[in-house]
């Protein structure tokens, strides 16, 4: 019971991180039908920028833990968002009218470029977040011990997901994003500036991904310039699991994948952890070909 609880909460924390990254994939896919393979690397930039800002500005020493981390998160999100917008402008906009797979290769090229830029700046070795910054406190809930960090990660990812959901569903700009996702041409006729919507999606998605990168840094303490591939692949899996293009789907898919992975690693085999996630994905797609919450689209004639 104790172990199940630990694995479940750990899975939720990791799943929250997956969900945040998956949202970036799914939003871009929704509007552009493009798999942004460089998204995982934007996530890595979040982790590295977080580390640099944390050590160079000593925010947590000056402002205390809560305010310091909040300011840090906002700075990281802002910077990664700008990076995402630049990426869209440089690598994707020129390919808007081209065959879809060309944009995929451009995205892969961008991913390699971003990854190696980080390697040249920071070196190939693992970078370590300073550990005295984190509160190592543990909560005691009815005899079950829970690291505070884990609770904060879950809480932060849920808050961001809810905020995004409300933004997409309740605001005018969110409505424009949804309209552009359904039919770009019609949205343009309704007076929506589709280019601005796309730019916005490339600001919001990477911002969430950057926040996820910071969380991984704070949670695990170790980051590497290649980790974007692994997390990106997992998050993409999560987005597909929930039904790509579907925002609540990415949230559900991320949390589900995190929990499945954690429980699979604990009760089946840790060596097969990554394979279990993919097996579940394949089984779900066999039963539901467009993911859990994906719309059932018949092929248009």
């Amino acid at each position: 019971m104790e172990e199940f609880f630990q694995q479940l909460t750990n899975g939720l924390a990791v799943g929250g991180i997956y969900a945040l990254i998956a949202l970036g994939y799914t939003m871009v896919y929704g509007v552009l039908k493009l798999i942004n393979f460089a998204h995982g690397d934007l996530f890595t930039y979040g982790a590295y920028l977080g580390l640099t800002l944390l050590t160079s500005l000593a925010l947590t020493d000056r402002l205390g833990f809560v305010a310091g981390v909040l300011v840090l998160a906002l700075m990281v999100m802002g910077l990664v968002a700008v990076l995402g917008a630049i990426l869209e402008r440089a690598a994707y906009r020129p390919l808007r009218e081209s065959p879809r797979l060309s944009a995929v290769v451009s995205a892969l090229g961008a991913s390699i470029f971003l990854q190696n830029t980080l390697m040249l700046i920071y070196g190939a070795r693992f970078q370590v977040y300073p550990d005295h910054i984190l509160p190592a406190a543990t909560l005691n809930i009815f005899g079950l011990y829970l690291p505070l960090m884990r609770v904060l990660i879950v809480l932060a990812s849920v808050v961001m997901m809810v905020a995004l959901y409300l933004f997409i569903q309740k605001t005018k700009i969110g409505t424009a994003i949804r309209a552009a996702a359904i039919d770009q041409g019609a949205a343009r006729l309704m007076g929506i500036d589709v280019n601005r919507v796309i730019m916005l999606v490339f600001l919001v998605g990477p911002a969430l991904g950057g926040a996820a990168g910071l969380m991984v840094g704070l949670y695990y303490g170790q980051i590497n310039f290649t980790m974007g591939w692994v997390y990106g692949m997992k998050a993409f899996t999560a987005a597909i699991l929930g039904g790509i293009g579907n925002i609540p789907g990415a949230m559900v898919g991320g949390l589900l994948l995190g929990v499945i992975e954690a429980l699979g690693a604990a009760y089946i085999s840790i060596a097969w952890k990554d394979a279990i996630a993919f097996c579940v994905l394949i089984l779900i797609l066999i039963v539901r070909p467009t993911g859990l919450l994906g719309e059932r689209v018949a092929d248009k004639v």
Binding site: A91, V105, A110, I112, F113, L114, Q115, F236, A275, V301
Partner: protein
């Protein structure tokens, strides 16, 4: 093929054929790698380029072939080249079994499933599945291949083995492309519903493309195992699948000369960039982006392919 085309092709082939006489062992080895990737990419081109099925897990089939050869050779002392048909059969059968339940998935869903299959295979190899794959260390001590009584061990000898196989593949795939089968695959890529409406058994052709492309990857795996004499799971990572995917799209999906050209660029360029040392992959990524931005239809699109790819893009955007 026009006379000028024939002349240029012949000239290139002749130049390549005498290249090992003037190059050092390292340079020939690079050419051998290019040949292996060309073989793999030609197989993937059937699936991704001709039939339009997004496959980003081609390394799994490559691994199947390499491990089939390695296991049969080290355990049962079967000569390496005799395992070629077996590797093809194992990889092909595996591809059919995997693709059968998922082949009807829409583009991007198929993409992630093939990525997943590639990862599952790699993890299975690392975890020494059935106790025969040697785990993370892989299998070593694969014997050298013999052809007509000659033991092949020099890079120059491998060059002729590999590129001979590439030449044979090009000949066969060109024939296939112009056959009823090839036309059916193209039709399938352009408009699946219309293809089905005109009596093409889409599931059959999709599976056939998968099986054939995978069988070719399996045979490339045999050649790889023979060349290296040691194989381990890290040679069949997600990265390999990504590189092959890039070769096919960069060359111009469905174009055999394009795929060959892209294999030279994608595998050869990083070798030329060696002087940039650690920055070479950065340059590589940048070049990839720039090439796609300036030639979105690929470097050497197949004839008529420009029109059809534009149509494909529109159809997918709807």
């Amino acid at each position: 093929m026009s006379r000028a085309n024939l002349l240029v092709t012949g000239l290139c082939a002749a130049l390549l054929a005498v290249a090992p006489l003037f190059l050092n062992a390292y340079q020939v080895d690079v050419l051998n790698s290019i040949g292996l990737y060309a073989l793999l990419a030609l197989g993937l081109n059937l699936i991704l380029g001709e039939a339009g099925l997004f496959n980003m897990g081609h390394a799994a089939f490559y691994a199947m072939g390499a491990y089939t050869t390695a296991i049969l050779n080290t355990r049962y002392q079967i000569p390496v080249l005799w395992t070629l048909p077996l590797s093809a059969a194992v990889a092909g059968a595996f591809a059919l079994a995997v693709a059968r339940p998922v082949v009807h998935l829409r583009g991007d869903y198929l993409l992630i499933v093939t990525i997943g299959v590639g990862e599952i295979v790699r993890i299975a190899l690392v975890n020494d599945v059935f106790g025969i794959t040697g785990g993370a260390n892989g299998i070593f001590g694969i014997s050298r291949p013999t052809l007509f009584g000659v033991v092949i061990r020099q890079p120059q000898q491998f060059f002729y083995l590999i590129w001979g196989f590439v030449a044979l593949t090009i000949f066969l795939f060109l024939r296939l492309k112009r056959s009823r089968f090839g036309r059916a695959l193209n039709y399938l890529r352009e408009d699946e519903t219309a293809a089905e409406g005109s009596g093409i058994n889409t599931d059959y052709y999709k599976l056939a493309a998968f099986g054939l492309g995978a069988a070719w990857a399996g045979m490339a795996g045999t050649l790889f195992a023979a060349k290296m004499t040691i194989i381990s799971p890290e040679s069949f990572s997600f990265w390999e699948s990504v590189v092959l995917f890039m070769i096919v799209i960069l060359g111009g999906a469905g174009s055999i000369p394009g795929v060959l050209l892209a294999a030279f660029l994608v595998i050869g360029l990083p070798e030329l960039f060696r002087e940039f040392a650690s920055a070479r992959m950065l340059v590589f990524g940048l070049v990839m982006m720039v090439m796609m931005v300036f030639r979105p239809q690929g470097l050497w699109p197949s004839r008529g392919g420009q029109v059809s790819l534009a149509l494909l893009g529109k159809a997918l955007k709807r």
